[in-house]
């Protein structure tokens, strides 16, 4: 069930993002979802990959500061209203979303919503009770 996201600290220097994708590609690691949050001085790159352990290892070896955080990944039909219904469920349960990002899949019929939420256990049960489909780590790796 557990699904982890990798976060990487980035100075806002040209080419660092490309360097990371290059390193992962060289090691045959696939990026399933990504988001970059940044300020004037630095950025945090968040990634969902098919092999979290290995990705952390190779990025650390390359000298990056890497962190792992558990997140919830919800698969929604890729059509209007998909995101809204998930957000409604979370709002009604008064669950606070630290941040989220979305990703469409190649096949095109489902989208992935990645949520960073403090109270993960409750979020999972609330979402499942409302009939949303949560993806496990294995399912994400297999995508």
């Amino acid at each position: 069930m557990q699904l982890e996201q990798i976060a990487i600290f980035l100075e806002n220097k040209a080419g660092r993002l490309a360097e990371i994708t290059q390193i992962l590609a060289e090691h045959g690691i696939n990026i399933r979802a990504m988001s970059l949050a940044d300020t004037a001085d630095f950025g945090i790159l968040r990634l969902i990959v098919n092999d979290t352990d290995r990705a952390c290892q190779v990025l650390r070896d390359a000298g990056f500061t890497v962190g792992r955080t558990e997140v919830v990944v919800v698969a929604v039909p890729d059509r209007p209203g998909g995101l809204a219904s998930v957000l409604n469920t979370l709002t009604e349960a008064e669950l606070n979303v630290e941040y989220m990002y979305a990703f469409s899949q190649k096949s095109g019929d489902t989208g992935l919503l990645i949520f960073r939420i403090e109270d993960l256990d409750r979020a999972r049960s609330v979402l499942q009770a409302a009939g949303h489909r949560l993806l496990s780590g294995e399912e994400v790796s297999a995508l």
Binding site: Q5, A7, F9, L10, E11, A37, D38, T39, D41, F42, I44, R46, G63, F64, T65, V66, G67, T69, E98, Y99, R116
Partner: protein
């Protein structure tokens, strides 16, 4: 334990009266007997008669290491050589060494001060004191030796080095006290680990008294943990007397009591040489007021420190000095404020998880100096949330402002992005065209 209740707990008013009397006597003596001091005082327009109160101390000229070199070897001694029973010398990294001398009474004073130092660390009669400070021209070994003997402890004068033998003797003799530099204590701990010696089971070591080099609170924790002892900090320099200028008490382990009945400390701004406000950091300056052979007047130590005047739980009335936070040689002046890289390091070490990998970049925009502190983000402080990292940067900024009194910008940078030359990080980049 307090070795000398009468002096170490003397009420401040009485202590000040005693200091003045001793200061006046010392100034008269150096003026009468040392042409070099007399000339400097004449140039400063001051005579011994002008020293009417302790505040008049600041009218006297400073003494620097350069003054000692110019008078190499015995030019600043105030007694004929036939009254000097011992000399020590500190190796000069540049030029001539600094030579200091002691009369019989000076040796007794020094032993008394080292007895106080060891007693403050909880050392007593019956302790087996392994003295691993170097014996020889360096003041550490013999200074500690006489003090421990005077206290009535059993002294093992092993000196530094031969670590395996140190450990064997420590075990066989049941040493309870280790005297050494803090880095050598860690070296001993490493060798113990290699030999499979467990300090808790195999040794009787209880306390270590460490000095002669700067060390951090982290180092203290490491020594205490690995050797299973209390680690006590002491301070001294040969120009003043050697070890035994100031000592930490076991009760508080918070600042070193300066033996003010023998030395008057001052904190001055290293650029203006004026006294700083109470409690502020600056250069530590000492005047000796009981030494016979080699008194010093306002000797500039180049060590950066402040004074704590609040009373201590141990009952000693002497002021305390926290650990030395830097050397004047490393000083930067930013917007007129003296800044020491070690102060920045001190702030970073105070924040959980932050490693002291940093660089200070000083620049000038128009007429305004700017300071940017770059701090490497370690995994211990990294977060996947922007707000946490921004909060960290703000905290560092605030703490630096609080401690140094100068505002700066803080930039979080990737690990290993700070330039290192020969493995050693370059701490300061000054881009100002002055």
């Amino acid at each position: 334990m307090i070795w000398n209740e009468e002096y170490e707990t003397m009420p401040r008013a009485d202590l000040r009266a005693l200091q003045l009397e001793r200061l006046q006597e010392t100034v008269e003596r150096v003026y009468a007997r040392v042409p070099y001091y007399r000339q400097k005082m004449e140039e400063a327009g001051v005579t011994p008669a002008d020293i009417k109160g302790l505040d008049d101390l600041r009218r006297l000229p400073f003494t620097t290491k350069e003054d000692l070199r110019q008078n190499y070897p015995f030019g600043l001694f105030t007694v004929p050589l036939d009254r000097v029973v011992r000399v020590h010398a500190s190796s000069g990294t540049t030029g001539k060494p600094t030579v200091v001398g002691y009369t019989k009474r000076d040796i007794r004073t020094w032993a008394e001060l080292m007895s106080r130092t060891l007693a403050a660390a909880g050392v007593r009669r019956g302790d087996v004191v392994q003295n691993a400070y170097g014996y020889g021209l360096f003041t550490g070994g013999l200074g500690a030796h006489y003090g421990a003997e005077n206290l009535g402890a059993t002294v093992v004068p092993i000196s530094g080095g031969q670590t395996k033998r140190q450990i064997q003797i420590m075990r066989d003799f049941g040493s309870t006290v280790l005297l050494s530099t803090p880095s050598y204590a860690l070296n001993i701990a490493d060798v113990m680990a290699d030999l499979g010696v467990d300090p808790q089971k195999d040794l009787k070591l209880r306390v270590g008294v460490f000095g002669a080099e700067p060390w951090s609170e982290n180092m203290r924790e490491e020594i205490e943990r690995r050797l299973g002892i209390k680690a006590i900090d002491i301070y001294g320099l040969s120009e003043v007397i050697g070890p035994g200028v100031a000592a930490e008490c076991l009760e508080a382990q918070n600042g070193l009591h300066i033996f003010e009945d023998h030395f008057i400390p001052e904190i001055v701004d290293p650029t203006t040489l004026e006294p700083v406000a109470d409690g502020e950091a600056g250069e530590l300056v000492f005047t000796t007021i009981t030494k016979e052979a080699f008194p010093v007047i306002r000797y500039r130590t180049k060590d950066i420190c402040r004074l704590i005047t609040e009373p201590c739980v141990c009952g000693r009335s002497f002021v305390r000095m926290p650990k030395i936070t830097g050397r004047t040689d490393d000083m930067l002046i930013i917007r007129g404020v003296n800044v020491f890289p070690s102060q920045v390091e001190h702030v970073l070490m105070g924040i959980k998880g932050v490693e002291p990998h940093y660089q200070i970049v000083v620049d000038r925009q128009g007429t305004m100096d700017t300071m940017e502190v770059q701090v490497e983000v370690s995994e211990a402080v990294f977060s996947d949330e922007i707000k946490h990292l921004e909060r960290l940067a703000q905290q560092i900024q605030r703490d630096i402002k609080d401690l140094l009194g100068v505002s700066c910008t803080v930039r979080l940078v990737e690990p290993k992005s700070i330039q290192r030359s020969e493995g050693k990080a370059k701490r300061v980049i000054d881009k100002r065209q002055l």
